[in-house]
Amino acid sequence: MNALELRDICKRYEDFTLDHVSFSVPMGSIMGLIGENGAGKSTTINLVLGLIGLDSGEIAVLGENGPAVSPKVKAQLGVVLDEAGFPDCMTARQVGKMLRLAYPNWQQKTYDGYLARFGLPPQKPLKDYSRGMKMKLGIAAALSHNAKLLILDEATSGLDPVVRDEIIDMLLEFIQDEQHAALLSSHITSDLEKVCDYVTFIHRGKVLYSEEKDALLERMCILKCTQEQLKEIDRRAIHGVRRGAFGVEALAERDRLPDGCVTDRATLDDIIVYVAKGERK
């Protein structure tokens, strides 16, 4: 079963349209959602969570078809948004109490364990927490009610590398069995490269790539050549070009390039940047 399935979803705003976005997150895997600011990542997640309404298309969360996500399914979702969301006047202990009343599968011991592990003082009001602490609390909460699907929307931006590393470890632990899955939207592509099995690249409201992360990174490369050499190459192989004073760099498909080309490994960042730059020509 797929933990999450999006089929041709569309959402129209005045100045932006999410256009026929489709992808799936299989159980037991982690899907990374990448793209520029304003590309549609948060809009997609908002649609999945039922925060905004769908114009057309279908979303199936943990096997349940939309349009709205029922409380039964929501009880199995662990969500961490970019702003922690708990009222500032509450303490971590009170947050735990509130969530215990809300979630049928609340694991108090697990929650307390995370508070201790993260060094979060349970009696301090959240307004005295740093941003990193608030995010850690959000993650502790998301992991303490036997959630099957974890959705993180820019949950790690603004956190230091040490904390992000801890979070990566926890995500990897989370999917140790086939019964869990995660959807991560982030700008910090280095984190995604470490932890994702699949990656979906959304650009200006459309899905450009949605495949196994390693396959994508093997398939793509950074071609380095001269302007003239570029002209000789199959247009379909080139996905984005950066012209410099001493030559040209392009995001290209390895297989379609002729032998003898000078290439470099492509990273997820490269893919985002080259596609974006390519459009601006």
């Binding site: 990566i168 632990e173 999917i175």
Partner: protein
């Protein structure tokens, strides 16, 4: 079991895993019937995708180095002498390829190379 993988070589990660596990089997550090770590555990520890470790394990099984028992995991297969020989031959061929390339660059003829090989054997 130690596995060192690097992002900076051109070799795909699943290939690096395969190569290293094969080397361990051939050298005897991994014995017949030894269990391999689960795909997921390996992925977690190496911080790579489980799809990659799965691919590595599938490759190893396909080449006959391991067998997977449903519900139990992957185990080192019984040593197949033909397989071991073939693996060694493959490695030698690779090394020969490198030597020949160097020889061509330096303009050294095949005859001289063959002589060097002979000397190496006799020297042992």
């Amino acid at each position: 079991m130690n596995l060192i993988i690097t992002n900076s070589s051109g070799q795909p990660i699943y290939d690096q895993i395969c190569t290293q596990i094969k080397a361990m089997i051939l050298s005897g550090s991994l014995h017949e019937g030894d269990p391999l770590p689960s795909m997921r555990l390996l992925a977690k520890e190496l911080r790579i995708s489980v799809i990659t470790t799965k691919r590595a394990y599938e490759e190893l099984e396909r080449e006959g180095f391991t067998v997977s028992v449903p519900g139990k995991g992957c185990f080192v297969a019984n040593k197949n002498p033909a397989l071991v020989r073939e693996e060694h031959l493959k490695r030698i061929e690779e090394l020969f390829g490198q030597a020949v390339q160097l020889a061509r660059q330096a303009g050294i003829p095949a005859a001289e190379l063959a002589e060097m090989l002979q000397l190496q054997f006799e020297g042992e």
